[in-house]
């Protein structure tokens, strides 16, 4: 079951704090904090995967379940 607030996963151990995810997020849902990037406005995150695509070290993961639409059955 997918949570309404499924969000990109950020691996702070890999993150270099380059700020690309913050700069490229189309909805400004991510902010750089002392510990690293944090999705501070989860409701604004559309799971567009831009942050995953621009992260130069693969620290952000946006994974998808693949399933049938249950209403189709």
């Amino acid at each position: 079951m997918v949570d309404q607030w499924t969000l990109p996963e950020i691996d702070l151990a890999l993150c270099t704090r380059c700020g690309q995810c913050v700069a490229q997020c189309p909805t400004q849902a991510v902010e750089m904090q002392a510990t690293g990037p944090v999705i501070v406005r989860p409701a604004d995150c559309t799971y567009c995967t831009t942050c995953e695509a621009v992260c130069p070290v693969g620290a952000i993961t946006c994974a998808f379940e693949i399933a049938w639409d249950k209403s189709a059955f």
């Binding site: 799971y47 995967t49 995953e52 946006c62 994974a63 693949i66 399933a67 049938w68």
Partner: protein, 228 residues
């Protein structure tokens, strides 16, 4: 990597059991127990590196392993994802000075039995059933690779993606999540193409993208797309 206590291979081990027409006899399993070496690897550990001299073939007891080739530019093509009962790196055992044909990485935590190259002649001599099991594994692998060549050479990325989505949605009860990079590595393309193809399938109402979820909407249209 860690070597575990002496090997104990029995019918419960699933070794050679799944996806194979034949299994080893009880006698052969006992014989193999004295030859193979149990090994455990945590997820994400590279077990075999393409081009390195072959040290062993491996039989999966628990977990999943991905076998892949990597280009000089760092682009990855996953050849196959294997599970319990399946083997990898068996080809170079039959070659003089054989090198590993592909790399293999632990997709999950895995337990394997390693059959060292220097022990292979003895294993074949002492366990004649083993040759048949390995030949059947080769046959299955050849059929799989032939299908993969057809997919890569003759199908569009959209077609391959549609087929992949159908396979995943129709597959096992165990839910597996995929990133777009992982899909690209399986389908012989790049992330950008996966993103574009997902958007195209979405625009044509074959799928819907939710947060963390690709929802398949139109089976007939996806099946037609998978033929392209």
């Amino acid at each position: 990597m860690s070597d575990r206590p002496p090997a104990h291979v029995d019918h419960d081990s699933q070794l050679f059991a799944s996806r194979s027409e034949s299994t080893l006899s009880a006698g052969a399993l006992t014989c193999m127990a004295n030859i193979v070496v149990p090994r455990a690897y945590p997820a994400e550990t590279v077990i075999v590196v393409e081009g390195e001299p072959c040290e062993a073939a491996y039989f999966i007891v628990e977990g999943n392993v991905e076998v892949y080739r990597m280009s000089f530019q760092g682009r990855q093509q996953v050849l196959v994802r294997l599970g319990p009962g399946q083997a990898f790196n068996t080809v170079p055992l039959f070659q003089v000075n054989g090198c590993n044909h592909a790399s293999a990485i632990a997709h999950t935590d895995v337990t394997l039995y390693a059959l060292r190259k220097e022990d292979f002649p003895r294993a074949l001599r002492d366990c004649p059933d083993l040759a048949l099991v390995i030949l059947q594994d080769f046959a299955n692998r050849l059929a799989h690779l032939t299908d993969l060549v057809e997919d890569l050479a003759l199908r569009s990325v959209r077609g391959r993606l549609a087929q992949f989505l159908l396979q995943q949605a129709n597959g096992s009860a165990v839910t597996q999540k995929w990133t777009q990079d992982e899909m690209a590595a399986h389908l012989g393309t790049v992330r950008d193409m996966i993103g574009r193809s997902l958007r195209a399938l979405t625009n044509e109402r074959m799928i819907k993208l939710d947060r963390g979820r690709i929802v398949l909407l139109d089976r007939a249209a996806l099946e037609a797309e998978a033929q392209n």
